[in-house]
């Protein structure tokens, strides 16, 4: 019986009463509310979280590694007359276009699949701010990755033409490069949307592969076989519209209208819905 009431019982009962009456000096009594967490800090934290796991480090490193491998492949195997910057840009750009959306997917879904969202969202209860920080970081990585790729392509082109003993051919304009960056930024948004809607790494990655690699030949076949679909395709098929950016920066207004319509329908609406649900979903 005595073990139940002493010393913890009486000891803390005294302190408890003291705190309530204000006589007891509590180490926590006079605290003022801390300053809010600035958005810049969230950006730093989310950027850090992209690199601080082994898988994250390698995913990021693979952007650079694949760019180098693709350049080396062009130098070694491309016919001499095709050693142009355009070839390097295409070879380096492809792995980039595949990888960047994956990075965006994982940055969102890992909070759920790895369950560290439990800590993330208790430290920052406003999930929208966390997701916004992730979006900014993913875009930064995409643009940064593109610059790395462009740089590797430049080195490859210089090296390739030097080995061939020809002048380096620069056949990619600033407009072309801008279009490619825009295409990749849209790709990142696709990954981000899938991550926010599905909140599961495997599901979102499969969704991404289906959209990017399964859907494309299907709609191509459909467009080839059915004239009505070929007519409306530029207005309904986001992949079809986005992929044209890799061919150069379109100048006609109709193209941009098509890009706007398909992006709003297939990316922005689902993303808005996904974010709305993400704000309410249980974090377990």
């Amino acid at each position: 019986m005595s073990t139940l009431t002493t010393p913890a019982g009486t000891g803390s009962a005294t302190t408890g009463a003291g705190t309530e009456q204000g006589g007891f000096v509590s180490a926590y009594a006079d605290r003022t509310a801390p300053a809010p967490i600035p958005f810049a800090r969230l950006l730093k934290v989310e950027a850090r979280k992209m690199f601080d796991t082994r898988s994250g480090t390698w995913l990021m490193a693979s952007v650079g590694i694949l760019a180098v491998l693709a350049s080396v492949a062009v130098v070694l195997w491309a016919p001499d007359d095709q050693v142009t910057y355009g070839s390097f840009a295409a070879a380096v750009g492809f792995p980039m276009a595949v990888l960047l959306p994956v990075i965006a997917v994982l940055s969102v879904t890992s909070e759920w699949s790895q369950r560290n969202g439990l800590t993330t969202f208790t430290l920052v209860p406003h999930r929208g701010r966390v997701v916004a920080a992730k979006a900014v970081v993913a875009l930064g990585v995409a643009v940064g990755g593109m610059l790395v790729a462009a740089g590797v392509g430049v080195l490859g082109n210089l090296l390739g033409s030097a080995l061939n003993g020809t002048d380096a051919i620069w056949d990619v304009s600033m407009a072309d490069f801008t279009a490619i960056v825009l295409a990749n930024v849209l790709g990142v948004f696709l990954g981000f949307m899938l991550g926010a809607v599905l909140r599961s790494s495997p599901a979102a990655l499969v969704g991404y592969l289906v959209i990017s690699f399964v859907l494309v030949p299907l709609t191509m076949t459909l467009a080839a076989a059915q004239e009505w679909f070929a007519d409306i395709q530029p207005w309904v098929d986001w992949n079809f519209v986005q992929s044209q950016l890799f061919e150069g920066l379109p100048t006609d207004g109709e193209y941009w209208a098509q890009l706007g319509v398909t992006t709003a329908t297939w990316l922005l609406l689902p993303l808005a819905w996904g974010l709305w649900r993400l704000g309410r979903a249980e974090v377990k």
């Binding site: 803390s12 605290r31 439990l118 993330t120």
Partner: protein, 302 residues
């Protein structure tokens, strides 16, 4: 200070949390006791803003969780020690949390030291951690911002006896310095040894709450004897009420409203030997808790 008012969470037609109201006060350790599946974790998740409530409210230091400007500095939460990115090292988990809260990196080393994770252990990835190590890492994360309020879901899970002892001292010390501690457990003993206030929950409802003294207090006497039947008859004959602690197991003895001295005298007069004679303190709480647990187990089995 934590205040939970009429908190309710409904999943389809299942009421996981049913109008739960209680508060955890500064300077005290509040134990949240209930069988598995009683609604403890759901209540705590709602408190931490991770699960939306169907109705009712929960506040920390007078504010909704979502309105805390930098929650880690005001409330330390450990809901599930295993919920960490498996590929991060323990030290990195703390660094990310410290950076989010805006704390200096030196704080990370202090916390690792406090929870006795060695340099080598802190450098390992969380996937290679034992449950006990994860629990220590989780506690370190919760304590990182030196918050006034601590909320811990089953913190003793996976800790060895020395670790449990260490954690109890840590939490009691936190309360002694004026902090608020709310911890849950499905083990009565775990709560009994540490809590000042106890809230018992079953089937989503609060079934009892009060200070430990109030809940454990029982005027009756507990007595065990080899010949339980004869003793029960003797006490009944003397005009006292008698009740078997566990009708299925005579060795658990009897509870009677006769005093300690009277019970002894009745036994002496009847020539009966005793095995144990003491105040029935805590018996009521234990009984209620066993009943709750048995109900839950029946439901799970059915």
């Amino acid at each position: 200070m934590i205040e939970i008012h009429e908190l309710t969470k409904r999943y389809g037609d299942h009421l996981a949390v049913d109008h739960v109201t209680f508060s955890a006060r500064p300077g005290r350790v509040t134990g949240f006791l209930g069988p598995n599946g009683a609604g403890k974790s759901t209540s705590l998740r709602i408190l931490a803003g991770l699960t939306p409530a169907t109705s009712g409210s929960a506040s920390v230091l007078g504010r909704r969780y979502a309105d805390l400007p930098n929650p880690g500095l005001e409330i330390g939460v450990l809901l599930d020690a295993s919920a960490q990115h498996a590929g991060r090292t323990g030290r990195e988990v703390l660094r990310v949390a410290a950076e989010t809260m805006g704390l200096p990196r030196t704080r990370v080393a202090e916390m690792l030291d406090l929870v006795s994770l060695t340099d080598d252990e802190a450098g390992r990835r969380v996937r290679d951690y034992s449950l006990g190590m994860r629990q220590r890492l989780g506690l370190a994360t919760a304590l990182l911002g030196d918050p006034a309020v601590l909320v811990l879901d089953e913190p003793a899970n996976g800790l060895d006896p020395a670790g449990i002892r260490w954690m109890r001292d840590l939490l009691r010390d936190h309360a002694r310095r004026g902090g608020t501690v709310l911890l849950s457990s499905h083990l009565l003993h775990e709560i009994e040894v540490i809590a000042d206030d106890i809230v018992v929950i079953g089937h989503g409802r609060v079934v009892a709450q009060g200070t430990k003294e109030e809940l454990l207090h029982d005027d009756r006497t507990l007595v065990r004897a080899p010949e339980v039947g004869a003793l029960a008859a003797a006490l009944t004959a003397a005009g006292w009420s008698v009740e078997r602690v566990d009708p299925a197991d005579p060795a658990t003895g009897l509870r009677t409203d006769a005093s300690l001295a009277t019970t002894g005298q009745v036994a002496l007069a009847a020539g009966l030997a005793l095995l144990e004679l003491r105040a029935a303190d805590g018996a009521g709480l234990e009984e209620m808790f066993l009943q709750l647990t048995a109900d839950t187990q029946r439901e799970t089995a059915a």
